[in-house]
Symmetry: C2
Subunit: 413 residues, 2 copies
Amino acid sequence: MTVQQQASDARIASLDLAAATRAEKDAALLLMADRLVERAADIVTANETDIANAHAANLSGAVIDRLTLNPERIEAMADGLRQLAALPDPVGDVVRGSTLANGLELRQVRVPFGVVGIVYEGRPNVTADAAGICLKSGNAALLRGSGSAMSSNAAIVSVLRTAVDDAGLPANTVQLLDATSRDSVKELMRARGLVDVLIPRGGASLIKTVVEESTVPVIETGVGNCHVYVDEAADLEKALAVVLNSKTQRLSTCNTAESLLVHSALADSFLPLAIEELITAGVTVHGDARVAAVSDDVVPATREDWGTEYLSADIAVAVVDSMEDALDHIRRYGTGHTEAIVSESVTATRRFASRVDAAAVMINASTRFTDGGEFGFGAEIGISTQKLHARGPMGLPELTSTKYIVTGNGHTR
Amino acid sequence: MTVQQQASDARIASLDLAAATRAEKDAALLLMADRLVERAADIVTANETDIANAHAANLSGAVIDRLTLNPERIEAMADGLRQLAALPDPVGDVVRGSTLANGLELRQVRVPFGVVGIVYEGRPNVTADAAGICLKSGNAALLRGSGSAMSSNAAIVSVLRTAVDDAGLPANTVQLLDATSRDSVKELMRARGLVDVLIPRGGASLIKTVVEESTVPVIETGVGNCHVYVDEAADLEKALAVVLNSKTQRLSTCNTAESLLVHSALADSFLPLAIEELITAGVTVHGDARVAAVSDDVVPATREDWGTEYLSADIAVAVVDSMEDALDHIRRYGTGHTEAIVSESVTATRRFASRVDAAAVMINASTRFTDGGEFGFGAEIGISTQKLHARGPMGLPELTSTKYIVTGNGHTR
């Protein structure tokens, strides 16, 4: 079946789905969860095919670990779906409402997008997660996972479709696209009119391709070259905690700090301390000349370091002479994801928060907090680094559009 | 100067503009208004060049009328800017806020996009209007008007830039792009990273080009193939008023009705009445077989009629056997702008409102009400027919993005 046909089927499914009540959607989510657990053995068997192929392709141990499904991980997928059922339904929320001077009643109401395309890499648990988030927000999902998880994804989607159907919603609420070639991504990007929004989740090159080539509206997610700026008015203890946590709490996430900017007033106090602790934590420090002067263990930074999202135990460190210099640096190299300042000065934090152009600004807090779960959203489909529609962690409301419903009594202009 | 350079200058201006207070922005708007009036004679002189060129190019009287500026029209432009000054500033609005379990204070705050590109046709008054709306929402504007208004637009922008500068904000808040060739539109569409959002205002072909070719995120505006569905449970008097007003109150706007769908139960009662009144009002009725049976004056409709945004004294009329048939028709031919139902049935209006996929749904009210002014927004930059970011009339808040500001006290995960 072509992507065009699948998108067309999704469109038809989306009509019933948009009209489904919260109770109907939650029942489907709970049945999806139960069925995943019941059919865990089948899913693990399908997963073994992917694992065998991954070994044959000499994929790394880390990649194979992310790909692996076992009963515990399948239980976790089911739990994710049950949590979605417990979250409020964004559809039908009245965003704005008023009665106009002429008596017309105006309501702006949240409605589903309709059909959401998601292109993602790696882990098969994203399949259940994305399907669930789309269903809860009333959207039909077109899922294009990675080739490496093809067999697992097919097994998961087959279980989910049967559950959705048994719950009385259209099976085509969840569809998996062909992952054997790039053609399905290309077709998806060109299905304007059938697909309402496309969310690429994955590496920088995937996202760049989709952003440049898609005629379907795109929500860009994820690339994070996040900075921590330690201001001259910083509390050094807090600064140390924030820097270490931002860099080392988890290395491979988009909200991990990749650069540290230290005010020159702290070059003799905080800087040596921070470098020592980072190195002790196993982090390679790439520094400018003033940073390199502090320790022999500092690797001289190249221009490239400032713009790199390492996603590894590396950090680029620079000394700046003012907050303006820090802001200039971030403006040049940042990706608009998360930028942090550590400072006790109200004037400084206020200026930084207003001047820095990012989805999230952390004041005396770790960059790692930019996350739907941490923000209390209950579910997250990704972190938007664009300014249109959604910016920052995207929960269920971010997967909806709105519609004005205007009620009169024969009103004319 | 290249568009790239202008966009880069706009980006720099946008930094100061984003930090400007409401008081500073309102002062600039009021000065812009005063200067337009003071310099009206110069603007009229510049306008005479465009008018002479329009005559030489044999443009129609209607086009020349829309192009013409006189002291009254310039006063109206100034009034528009003064009204903008009186509107609340969306920047800084807290959209969402909470204190997380760990004590982190979360605020989602409205911030300007940064740089907004607007491509528009026709009337030079849009120039002042668009510049003002962008300034009030904290955005630098890159304006690409039509070649036919080139001289007028240059004069207006020159006055506005001086006023903005004299008010202490960056002159590059308002810039006019070259309108002598299509190249400036192409460059604008490719200025991703410098331009945050592009809004095409104009005909269907301009919008289609921008949507397909732009790598800068686009907000689609305007094409409206709007329907009025007269349900079997309609009050015929209200239906007649709504149909006539929707079609004839103004012919050339995007919220004008282009099609009428009448339930077959009303084929002998309402339909002849509606056709008679429409024809009396000077409207050409293009009808299907059942409509043509009513009157010899009905022109047989072709398939093309159903999909046409006439913007003229024409209407396509069909008889449908059920609301489902009406919804199917709208799904096939509608553009997602405004769809109206006339019915006294709560069940029918509820179903129509939930099932029809459009930016605005009118229940017993004219399609002509889909308008920022009518909705009480005070200003409107266009009517979005897409689902991402903004849908329906776009006021000042729709020209902003958001930013999460998270305040802690050395918080780590």
